[in-house]
């Protein structure tokens, strides 16, 4: 009798183990199911590269290039800001900070990671956006630049903690050998430890970027939601994620607009899949 109960429990455990694969496949299938329907009305090429996104006009124009560029601009901007600062902070925490301050700093980073994105979006809206508006003399502060800065803040905890782990796991022999040969601490970091931790740092950056690409609420609140081709970083843009969030409320279930939003979801899923898998491979290659 107990054998039977144990058998059932162990099979249940196996099923739960497979659950994550099941859910990933399920998500992808459901996205595809609704998303592919949009290609009855617009060709994949026009969808991905079309320059006008006017889904509620007659006939609907469903080109997502402005949205892709919006996401790209905000992501690249966030990357430019967050990578140097994030990796620099990771180096500082891992190598230079005194022990007691280290704990406080790590707690501060964890705190930043825990703040919900809608709260950061709200703060960005009330502090950063007016600041950008006055500094650059713009009609509005809702720009790609504001979005980049805020998103950099969201990516940095991820980058800092994973890069710090990577630096921490560089074998001590490397560091001690360099110091024994007369290198200064900084020379050791710059020429020995960073290259040794490079794949881990790369993974950290990719995961941080992955988070930025997928961010929805903060961008919705501070980038201005203008779904047109952006002409500079000081213009309002709209990202792929914000489009889904903003327009799904108006889209009728089963309408063309609805399918188009799901197709955007497919694009996002594929991008995040690629980024996360690559980052994971980098993290494991190191070992």
């Amino acid at each position: 009798m107990r054998r039977l109960k144990e058998f059932i429990i162990e099979k249940l455990i196996l099923v739960c183990g497979l659950a994550s694969i099941f859910f990933v496949v399920l998500i992808f299938l459901f996205l595809l199911k609704e998303g592919l329907a949009v290609f009855k009305t617009v060709s994949p090429f026009n969808f991905l590269f079309g320059k006008s996104w006017y889904p509620i006009s007659e006939p609907a124009q469903l080109g997502i290039l402005p949205l892709i560029l919006g996401s790209l601009m905000v992501t690249v901007g966030a990357a430019i800001i967050s990578i140097p600062i994030g990796v620099g902070c990771a180096i500082y925490i891992a190598e230079i900070a005194p022990l007691k301050i280290k704990e406080i700093l790590k707690a501060g980073i964890e705190l930043l990671a825990a703040i919900p994105s809608v709260v950061l979006g709200f703060i960005g809206m009330v502090t950063l956006v007016p600041l950008v508006k006055t500094v650059f003399h713009l009609p509005t502060g809702l720009t790609a630049l504001s979005g980049s800065i805020m998103l950099a803040f969201m990516a940095m905890p991820t980058i800092v903690s994973i890069a710090e782990d990577a630096l921490y796991s560089v074998p001590k022999i490397y560091k001690e050998g360099a110091l024994a040969l007369g290198a200064t601490h900084w020379q050791t970091i710059w020429r020995v430890m960073l290259p040794a931790a490079s794949s881990g740092i790369l993974a950290a950056v990719m995961l941080g970027i992955g988070r930025v690409i997928g961010e929805t609420m903060a961008v919705m609140m501070i980038t201005g939601n203008a779904a047109v081709m952006p002409n500079s970083i000081l213009a309002p843009v709209r990202t792929l994620t914000a489009t889904i969030a903003a327009e799904m409320g108006e889209a009728v279930v089963g309408a063309e607009h609805y399918f188009a939003l799901f197709a955007i979801g497919v694009v996002l899923f594929v991008i995040s899949f690629a980024v996360n898998v690559t980052a994971d491979v980098c993290l494991h290659k190191r070992q």
Binding site: G88, G108, L111, P116, F122, T184, A245, V253
Partner: protein, 282 residues
């Protein structure tokens, strides 16, 4: 030749600047929210229904809605996540299937939250016909926090020394008995930490609940799991962007309540983790 110590000092200075650039704004953000939100916090704010399209009254339904959603998410995610962690730590072999599972978990962790919202809409709201409801929202949030629960529970289970299992098995216990009575109880603090972190994440997310449960203005409490509900993150979003002329301190007050809730959960998780590390018997 440049003095390498001078280079080092310059470099270290910039690194310090980089660190301050991250840490100082965090402190500022918390201070601003507390400073501007605290005036709004009184018992009425926390326990009344909103009135006049959320320009007056309290945020009670949003708080209750968030609690219901988070509880539902955990009810769904904890059993599945825990058993999946048990599978990965106790039963899985080093083969392709295990690599696939780990890959799937990494992926689930990286999917954008708005894509979870779409999925929840397509599966629970439309396909299963649950409609926009607490049920749909909780299930969607549950799937979203599943990777967090699996990963932290697995680490907790794997940190129990192998010798514990060996002793139990050598005394004649079966594998499941060993897990249930030996491994599991020793891993509970780690599992608890992970669960609470997952809860904190679920409480703060907006995009997954946008289309699956969140109501714009619902001045009464939900009566069943098939009802729509208000939720704190969505409420903050709406009163910041969609409703004009809301009193500034109401907005900051809502942000403060949400922030306090999430940070409190994280703090509890960290404390559990810290005390567990100190009390470890091995």
């Amino acid at each position: 030749m440049k003095n390498p110590y001078r280079t080092q000092n310059i470099a270290f200075f910039f690194l310090l600047v980089a660190t301050l650039l991250i840490v100082v704004p965090v402190g500022l953000i918390v201070i601003i929210i507390i400073q501007k939100g605290l005036p709004a916090i009184n018992w009425q704010f926390l326990s009344e229904m909103p009135r006049q399209g959320m320009r007056a009254g309290g945020i009670f339904p949003a708080i209750v809605g968030t609690i219901y959603l988070v509880a539902g998410a955990i009810i769904f995610a904890l059993p599945i996540g825990l058993l999946a962690a048990v599978y990965l730590s106790e039963y899985s072999k080093d083969n392709m299937l295990t690599r696939l599972i780990k890959l799937a978990i990494v992926n689930l962790a990286g999917v954008p939250s708005v894509v979870y919202g779409l999925f929840g809409l397509a599966l629970f709201v439309v396909f299963f016909k649950f409609g926009a409801s607490i049920l749909s929202g909780s299930l969607t949030l549950g799937i979203m926090i599943l990777p967090v629960i699996i990963t932290t529970s697995r680490e907790a289970l794997e940190s129990v020394p192998y010798s514990f299992r060996e002793v139990s098995l050598s005394l004649g216990a079966s594998k499941w008995q060993t897990i249930r009575h030996i491994v599991f109880p020793n891993a509970i603090p780690g599992i608890l930490t992970g669960t609470i972190l997952g809860l904190g994440r679920a409480a703060g997310e907006t995009a997954p609940i946008l289309f699956t449960v969140a109501a714009f203005y619902l001045p009464r409490l939900p009566k069943s799991i098939f009802d729509q509900a208000m939720a704190l993150p969505y409420h903050l979003y709406v009163i910041s962007t969609q409703v004009p002329n809301v009193d500034e301190k109401t907005r900051y007050g809502t942000a403060l309540v949400l922030l306090a809730l999430v940070l409190f959960m994280n703090l509890v998780a960290i404390i559990i983790r810290y005390r567990f590390r100190k009390k470890k018997k091995w």
